[in-house]
């Protein structure tokens, strides 16, 4: 019985329609893939583009090693990096040695933002691994982190000489990231149009 359907007299007519039917799953899948891709595009990483080009948000924060001293955004001066770190973040251990190198090379000023951490743990982290930071803000409740659009650690913000946030980097900083992503953006307003035309010529 099952083979009885193979009579092909009636098949030719509807062959084309049938072919379309077999294409349908593919079309549905493509539509869904496009949808998912846009979902990816709206990732947290891209979310705070409105912050780019703005000044550092205002804050009053204590320093990690001196709980009694409060400073504000006026005491930061670019060009600099603001590195968001925490003792609970394993990737921060990974990137820290490079931050030490970077600080020793005196290529750039690095501010630290100890994010949602406990003060003693944050201090221990820096004491154990070394201090590459010019100063370290202590953001225990994560308020400044929210203002800056931080979602986790490690993240690094690029501040240009006009104290504007020009870039936010999610993930660890290493030689490659510094050379090709952070550095070119930090000095983009000084090198001006000359470097713009050459793109990532900074390497």
């Amino acid at each position: 019985m099952s083979e009885s359907g193979q009579d092909n007299s009636s098949q030719n007519k509807s062959d084309q329609n049938r072919q379309l039917l077999f294409l349908l799953p593919l079309l549905l899948f493509v539509a869904m893939a496009v949808l998912l891709a846009t979902g990816l595009g709206k990732d947290p990483t891209e979310l705070d583009s409105q912050l780019i080009g703005k000044s550092i948000p205002g804050f009053q924060k204590t320093l990690l090693f001196s709980p009694n001293k409060t400073i504000s955004e006026k005491e930061l001066q670019g060009p600099a990096l603001i590195n968001v770190f925490a003792s609970w973040c394993p990737a921060c251990y990974t990137e820290h040695p490079y931050l030490m190198q970077l600080a020793q090379s005196k290529a750039v000023k690095i501010y630290g933002l100890n994010y949602k951490d406990k003060r003693d743990k944050g201090q221990k982290f820096v004491n154990d691994l070394g201090n590459p930071y010019d100063l370290i803000l202590f953001d225990d409740n994560g308020r400044l982190g929210i203002d800056m659009g931080v979602y986790g650690a490690p993240e690094t913000f690029v501040i240009n000489s006009d104290n504007q946030i020009v870039y936010r980097h999610v993930g660890i900083v290493n030689l490659d990231v510094w050379q090709n992503i952070l550095r070119p953006r930090m000095f983009a307003n000084q090198e001006g149009s000359a470097s713009k035309s050459t793109g990532q010529a900074a390497k």
Binding site: M1, S2, E3, S4, G5, Q6, S10, Q11, D15, R18, Q19, F22, L23, P25, L26, F29, V30, M32, A33, L35, L36, A37, T38, G39, L40, K42, D43, P44, T45, W88, P90, A91, Y93, T94, H96, P97, D128, L129, G152, V170, G171
Partner: protein
């Protein structure tokens, strides 16, 4: 040293997987058979290296090697050994390694157990599996390497495994679920091989069925284990939340169930051929989609894993290539394997068709609900999400007719069945189901109309499925043995498996309907020394004590439960604070038996008082959920053991008519 070995093993595994994928295809295309047969040794080698990598990672956990970043972020010296091993798959990188490990195990099984397969088919199947392996090994090696080191400076101690995962349920749930996820890759590979060959026959379906049944069994048990874990570990007494991560595992299960049935029709009657291949592709695609949804962060869920856009992009691309290519192949070749044979309106084929349609529609509806936040975002409709009420409504209304069919499926023959015969065989069961349904609906007190309606439908379906399946089983047993009781287990394993699965399903439905309607849940404030009566049970909050666990400190509540003055249970709910992360966890105290669970969970201590916020639940028949699931799993296992799947097949085509009883499932 060990992590480097693991890393190297992964690289070798990738190389072998590439060979397993590419070389046989080249061999087939150029008719060089010597190249094609390389698939099997490559698969065996791949398994060896992936297994080695997995062992290396597990050892790194065992040995507290915190120079490995993944170990440092998911383990801790004070973590008990069992959880240290379990932590191997507690995070993103390790769970992917588990994925690939399972995949290579399945590949090994296919390579070793497929002697009866035509060499060409076997080679193609192994090649497709090799491709999937390549995709995941690249993903692991380049975006999520579990062996990455924290050098030169590394923490002296790890930041601990998420306390939620420090639980026996977490040790079982992921491996079972992944065995299921990955198992569907075998059906997928067979489907692609068939499309490449341009031919599907009875034999093909017979090869695929046991693999699909195995995958389905693991998945059923995996989902049940996850649900059980959520029930007692999240501390709010729910067992299903329609969370994106849960949906991600449930959608392939639904499609897998559809596939099981359509494969049966393909094997027995040679119908639904193209549809079956499409289902096999779809089931595995949803497994990949699930991985994407969980790992990419496009949806937020209570299972907040670390999200990374690079990973999401990679999985999406891999998903696109895999599924896209399969569907293109389907579009081009699908019509070749399909046969336009027709069947009578009332026949098992028809029931299976409706079964498949309902399961497919339910899957799509769940997909729509799960993706709703992305869809709304796409059309700029604001930040929306759809909650459990949507899923419950759609799921209940669509599944009810399906469960109705579960009663009819075993009775109605292949090809043709008479209405009059059907009426004759089911009218008593119908009557019994209606009577029981009405009784339940009427006897339930303080219920509004919709509740009564749900109870009626629920009770009706349970009786319907149970009676029809058990009577049918009994009749078959009577044919085998003069004493039907002795014959119950001597019928063919295929049938036995089916009855187990169907009866298991009825028991799950029973648990769902009655636990959700009869549960009594009280959230209240209770002082030490006070007693609270809930559903006829007296809960006496005797005292609290401090408990020191291996890596946590806990406050333990002592509750004595009395019924009619007699002690029935002593419950010990805990509030645990894990030392490393400082996180608080609620550990429920549960006393379970078939009829009811007594459930106590402590919330927080109310400041400036001796009182605690306490959840006290009396939940009848919750255990039926797990019991029914286990029966379903056993059903899958029994069906797999059917001899005809292992019989050496000599002729080329169909032995479908030698079936012991007419219309084997």
């Amino acid at each position: 040293m060990i992590p480097e070995i693991g890393n190297l093993a992964l690289a070798f595994g990738l190389a072998l997987a590439l060979i397993q994928f590419v070389v046989p295809l080249v061999g087939i295309a150029t008719h060089r058979w010597r190249l094609a047969i390389i698939a099997k040794p490559a698969a065996i080698g791949q398994f060896f290296f992936v297994c080695l990598a997995f062992v290396c990672l597990a050892y790194s956990f065992y040995a507290n090697d915190f120079s490995v970043a993944y170990v440092a972020s998911n383990s801790n010296r004070s973590l008990p050994v069992a959880y240290r091993i379990g932590a191997t798959w507690g995070g993103h990188e390790g769970s992917l390694l588990l994925w690939v490990f399972m995949l290579s195990s399945w590949t090994l099984a296919v390579a070793l157990l497929s002697k009866s397969l035509p060499a060409l088919t076997r080679t193609r199947v192994l090649s497709v599996l090799g491709f999937v392996s390549v995709g995941f090994l690249i993903f692991i090696l380049f975006t999520s390497n579990p062996f990455d080191r924290l050098l030169p400076v590394f923490p002296v101690d790890g930041s601990d495994l998420n306390p939620l995962l420090q639980d026996p349920g977490m040790v079982f749930h992921p491996p079972l679920l992944y065995m299921g996820y990955v198992g569907f890759s075998v059906a997928f590979a067979f489907a692609l091989a068939a499309l490449l060959e341009g031919r599907i026959d009875t034999l093909w379906a017979r090869w695929v069925r046991p693999w699909t049944q195995a995958a389905w069994m693991f998945m059923t048990l995996g989902i049940a284990a996850g649900s059980w874990w959520a029930y007692y570990e999240l501390g709010w007494g729910g067992w299903w939340f329609w969370d994106p991560v849960e949906n991600a595992s449930f959608m392939p299960w639904l499609l897998g169930t559809a596939l099981l049935h359509s494969l049966a029709a393909t094997e027995k009657r040679g119908v639904f051929k193209a549809w079956t291949t499409l289902l096999a592709i779809a089931a595995f695609s949803f497994c990949l989609l699930g991985t994407f949804l969980v790992r990419s962060g496009v949806l937020t869920s209570v299972h907040a894993f670390a999200n990374d856009p690079v990973r999401g992009t990679y999985i999406l691309v891999f998903l696109g290539v895999t599924v896209g290519a399969s569907l293109i192949l389907f579009a081009v070749r699908g019509s070749k394997v399909s046969v336009t044979s027709w069947y009578n309106l009332l026949s098992r084929e028809l029931l299976f068709l409706i079964n498949n349609l309902i399961l497919a529609v339910v899957t799509i509806m769940i997909l729509l609900g799960t993706l709703q936040p992305i869809i709304a975002d796409f059309f700029n409709l604001g930040k929306v999400s759809v909650g459990p009420p949507y899923f419950n409504t759609v799921f209940n209304i669509l599944m009810a007719p399906l469960i109705f069919l579960v009663g009819l499926g075993p009775i109605v023959n292949w090809r043709k069945y008479e209405y009059s015969e059907l009426v004759k065989r089911t009218r008593l069961s119908l009557l019994a189901s209606i009577v029981v349904g009405l009784l339940v609906a009427v006897l339930a007190d303080d219920k509004i109309f919709t509740d009564r309606l749900q109870l009626f439908v629920g009770a009706f379906l349970i009786v319907w499925v149970l009676v029809l399946n058990i009577v049918d089983w009994w009749k078959k047993a009577a044919k085998k043995n003069r004493n039907p009781l002795l014959g119950l287990f001597s019928i063919s394993p295929s049938f036995l498996g089916m009855y187990f699965a169907h009866i298991g399903l009825a028991i799950v439905v029973f648990g769902v309907v009655f636990s959700s309607h009869l549960s009594i849940e009280k959230n209240l404030r209770l002082g030490i020394g006070q007693t609270q009566e809930v559903a006829g049970y007296e809960f006496y909050f005797e005292k609290i004590s401090d408990v020191v666990g291996p890596n946590y400190d806990a406050i333990r509540g002592h509750f004595i439960v009395k019924q009619d003055g007699e002690n029935v249970a002593i419950l010990h709910p805990e509030k645990r604070q894990y030392r490393v992360s400082g996180q608080w966890m609620t550990e429920a105290g549960i006393d379970a038996n078939l009829a009811r669970d007594l459930y106590v969970a402590m919330g927080e201590k109310i400041p400036e008082s001796n009182d605690w916020a306490v959840r006290i639940y009396v939940k009848p028949f919750v255990s039926c959920l797990w019991l029914g699931s286990i029966l379903m799993g056993i059903g899958g296992l029994l069906a797999m053991t059917d001899k005809r799947y292992r019989a050496k097949v000599k002729q080329k085509l169909g032995i479908s008519d030698d079936a012991v009883v007419s219309g084997a499932a």
